[in-house]
């Protein structure tokens, strides 16, 4: 049995990272030049890591499946990035951001990691401003802040509704600078299909050139995965169409442990599903909850009439509306954390108060805010979001309330990493959304951008040198090693197998089916019976996929269906692990709501006695994977029932 070593330095919480930084091993500049690092993914985590490692003098190769590193899905993050600057003087501090992160994650994350995240958050803002990120400002010329869910202070920095875009473009600029300086080499339009392990250490990758179809081998002294989340398991999500789990799934199958796969965040404010042909869901930023009020009719009859379009939203008078978040959670109101807001919406809709043609929607209403602040100010704050909403739905949110419903958005689970962000495979790192480390069972809004950039700019560059210091005598790794040949052959065989099935159903057919199983049985709320049902259905789906999928075209050409097929094959396997994890966790915490475990008023009921651990899974060929627990120790915060009332 593997014993997990979290490598957390001893000593007081606020000194751990300083202590680590001043004692970790360093690599001299002339040795850095001899060391190669592969980074997979060009989102906030990947781009910032590659740029910083390039600046430090390592030889970096970076890979993305898109045509340009600037397309990575971090670009779509709207609302903002948290930092403990306390510029508004409203009582914020590193301790408070740390506390909010642990509490928001429902006491299922590591204290030391969350503290470090809060600690480096301020450097991120300084750096981004220096890089030219046009954050929102006050008339004084100083930076503006707004509030996000799960916080009682305003600590979110933003650039209109395009914060992710601006941060990513800044990281992409830093990356571009290293590319032209020849410290980083870019490989675009590549899918990374396997990780190569030599003598127990990560030494390279196998990639498919998506334009030519060629299978390629790349070697390095260390490999960094920054591949984002696996929300596309659900088919419909706010992820990009190409977002996938293949690199982390390959790592898992090569022995890296996978932590908390069941922890999937369902974002409360997305545009509701319209029809069967729908390919993706669009998020409406959480920042809208600063000014928008969420409600449904207080009477079922009114809800029914709204669904049948016999009534319009504003036909319902104030006293016949139920602002259910304000009613249930007076202290936080519309700004409760995401998991709480999502479940409350589901509760109302399941009880028959939902609106929209499907009954699976609630109102997000700006009428009061427009009255209070004026249309112009609302337009300045949220203009692009309103425009996006109108384009998709054909309705004008200045005149009629928005309709929203929860949708799959972010995955807190991911590869298990220690304090150094290294997986259980030496030399293999996981940063950003693809690791599990900082958000516990629920991530707070505006914390994903913070974590991606913290990992890439300020954490990994230190921790990787602690490993690289032992690699200075390792010569350039050859891709002629038998381990590379074996991985290369395996990938080729896998692709050959997929394309030669020549069945009757398209990849999308299976992906949609997978999504439905997961949303119905392992979605916003879960129970033992449903999860067991999913465990029956998923192996059948896997079997059907591998015997009946139809992939047109050839291997050695641009073949988007083949790309999708390889991704969906991995999603089906990962889905099973998610269900297993949801089944073993017999408690409700954060986004993981088990119907069997709730308080009398319907809140998540945690069980710290039995489940204060990270559920980590070890691949076991085709047998059931082993569950290995990392017990969570709370030395500085005493876990209590989360209350936002």
């Amino acid at each position: 049995m593997i014993k997990l070593d979290d490598k957390i330095p001893s000593g007081p919480l606020n000194e751990k990272w300083t202590k680590y930084k001043s004692t970790c091993k360093l690599v001299s500049p002339n040795n850095k030049r001899k060391l190669d690092i592969i980074v997979v993914g060009t989102g906030l985590a990947g781009a910032s890591a590659a740029a910083t490692l390039g600046e430090l003098g390592y030889n970096v190769k970076i890979f993305c499946y898109q045509d340009s590193p600037r397309r990575a899905h971090s670009i779509a993050a709207q609302g903002g990035i948290n930092a403990a600057k306390n510029y508004p003087n409203d009582g914020d501090s590193i301790e408070r951001l740390f506390y909010d992160t642990i509490k928001g994650g429902d006491y299922r994350s590591r204290e030391a990691n969350a503290y470090r995240l809060a600690e480096v958050s301020n450097y991120i803002i300084d750096l981004c401003v220096a890089q030219g990120v046009p954050f929102a400002r006050e008339y004084s010329g100083l930076l503006d802040n707004r509030s996000f869910g799960g916080a009682q202070v305003s600590r979110t920095f933003y650039a209109r509704g395009q914060t992710g875009q601006q941060l990513l473009l800044a990281a992409y600029g830093a990356l571009s600078r290293q590319i032209v300086n020849k410290r980083v080499e870019l490989f675009n339009r590549r899918d990374v299909l396997d990780i190569v392990i030599v003598n127990g250490q990560a030494r390279g990758i196998i990639a498919r050139n998506l334009v030519t179809g060629e299978i390629e081998k790349y070697s390095a002294h260390a490999v960094v995965l920054a591949t984002g989340g696996y929300g596309n398991v659900f088919y419909l999500s706010t992820n990009a169409m190409g977002s996938n789990a293949t690199p982390i799934w390959s790592a898992y199958k090569k022995g890296a442990l996978f932590a908390n796969p069941a922890f999937t965040q369902i974002h409360p404010t997305c545009i509701p599903v319209h029809g069967d042909w729908q390919s993706k869901l669009t998020l409406m930023s959480e920042s809208l909850r600063n000014d928008g009020r969420i409600w449904v009719p207080a009477n079922k009859e009114d809800a029914e009439k709204l669904r049948k379009k016999q009534l319009k939203p504003y036909d319902i008078p104030e006293e016949k509306r139920d602002y259910y978040l304000e009613r249930r959670y007076p202290a936080y109101g519309n700004l409760v954390p995401r998991d709480v807001a999502s479940r409350a919406a589901k509760e109302r809709c399941d009880a028959g108060y939902g609106i929209g043609t499907t009954g699976l929607a609630v109102f997000l209403d700006f009428k009061d805010a427009i009255k209070r602040l004026g249309k112009q100010l609302i337009e300045e704050k949220y203009g692009n979001l309103f425009q996006m909403y109108q384009q998709i739905t054909g309705q004008n949110p200045y005149e009629t309330p928005m309709m929203i419903y929860p949708a799959v958005h972010y995955t807190m689970g991911g590869l298990w990493v220690d304090y150094e962000l290294m997986t259980t495979i030496p030399g293999l790192y996981a940063i950003g959304e693809c690791n599990f480390s900082d958000h516990g069972a629920n991530r707070l809004g505006a914390s994903a951008l913070m974590q991606g950039l913290a990992d890439g700019y300020f954490i990994l560059p230190y921790t990787i040198s602690n490993y690289m210091a032992n690699e200075i005598h390792t010569p350039k790794v050859s891709t002629d090693l038998p381990e590379f040949k074996e991985a290369y052959e395996n990938v080729k065989e896998r692709i050959n197998k997929l394309i030669s099935v020549k069945g009757n159903k398209s990849v999308d057919f299976f992906h949609k089916k997978l999504g439905k199983i997961m949303w119905d049985y392992c979605g916003m709320s879960r129970n033992k019976k449903d999860l067991q049902k999913a465990l029956e259905l998923l192996p059948q789906l896997k079997e059907e996929f591998h015997s009946n999928v139809k992939i047109p075209g050839k291997i050695d050409e641009y073949n988007p269906e083949l790309e999708k097929a390889a991704r969906v094959a991995d999603f089906i396997e990962l889905a099973e692990l998610m269900v297993l994890d949801a089944l073993q966790r017999e408690e409700s915490c954060g986004c993981h709501f088990r119907e069997e475990y709730q308080t009398p008023d319907g809140e998540a009921l945690r069980n710290d006695e039995d489940f204060a651990f990270v559920g980590t899974w070890k691949y076991n060929n085709n047998q059931k994977p082993d569950l290995i627990k990392e017990n969570l120790k709370f030395e500085f915060i005493k876990p209590s029932q989360r209350s936002y009332k």
Binding site: P69, A130, Q131, R137, Q166, W277, P552, E557, E561
Partner: protein, 257 residues
């Protein structure tokens, strides 16, 4: 809705390519343009034909990966949006829609509707950034920036790098793309330090890659999905001329930054 589609099919960069006619039926007006193409592709796969290849990723109008001339216009008929945000309610039942890849010499076709836009990355690599390393920077509030300047910088920084400006331009000029980046950075005090070197490097890279010049037709502004203004081109030209004019800036070329 029932539609006739005339779609450019081209096997690879060497193939000559041609327009092929397809019919799609029962399209929901609430579906997006790409969802309509998804339906077409599912039908093609069922029939054992090669589906139409097109670039797309976020499908929410921000990643800049999608492209397409739709009835001759980059990103289709609706102003201020990308193709992925275009919905079928913008068309009428019975319409014939022409769908083609972007045509510009620096954007060679890879397959069907997919073109290679790495030339835009190369222009950014030439200098579209502020040369700071990760660390050793002043506090974020150390330098106040007038709100209107920050807003103008943000307007320019909204560019998604899709290349619609190049596709719209008769000269295949990338002036709006380059002007947006030059303006975004030159409007901020942090970006002013390198402003004159930056503009020279980016403009010369743009010329080198075969993009044409601007002849003030403003088609780029009209087709830009993010409504980037041509005033950014004017600002770039001003900086460019200034960088050639003053002796202290004149001799700074090709510094590796």
């Amino acid at each position: 809705m029932n539609l006739t589609l005339k779609i450019w099919r081209q096997k690879n960069s060497k193939d000559k390519g041609k327009l092929v006619t397809y019919k799609v039926t029962n399209v929901s007006p609430d579906s997006s343009f790409f969802e309509m193409l998804d339906v077409l592709n599912q039908n093609l796969i069922e029939k054992g034909e090669d589906p139409v290849a097109f670039d797309h990723d976020c499908r929410e109008g921000i990643c800049g990966m999608c492209s397409l001339y739709i009835n001759g216009r980059p990103h289709g008929p609706v102003k201020g949006i990308t193709t992925c945000q275009l919905h079928m309610r913008s068309f009428k039942d019975g319409d014939t829609i022409y769908i083609e890849p972007w045509r510009a010499k620096p954007f060679p076709v890879i397959k069907d509707l997919i073109v290679d836009r790495s030339a835009l990355d190369k222009i950014i690599q030439a200098g579209g950034y502020i040369s700071v390393n990760s660390g050793g920077v002043p506090d974020a509030n150390a330098i106040p920036i007038p709100k209107h300047k920050a807003e103008m910088a943000m307007d320019a920084a909204s560019c998604i790098g899709c290349g619609a400006c190049v596709a719209a331009c008769a000269n295949a000029s990338a002036m709006l793309f380059v002007g947006a980046k030059v303006s975004h950075l030159a409007l901020l005090p942090q970006g002013q330090v390198e402003a004159s070197i930056r503009v020279k490097k980016m403009v010369s890279k743009m010329d080198e890659l075969g993009f044409g010049n601007c002849s003030n037709m403003y088609a780029c502004e009209a087709e830009c999905p993010k409504n980037i203004k041509v005033t950014n081109i004017a600002r770039m030209n001003r900086h460019f001329i200034a960088s050639k004019l003053f002796a202290e800036d004149k001799n700074i070329t090709n510094t590796n930054f």
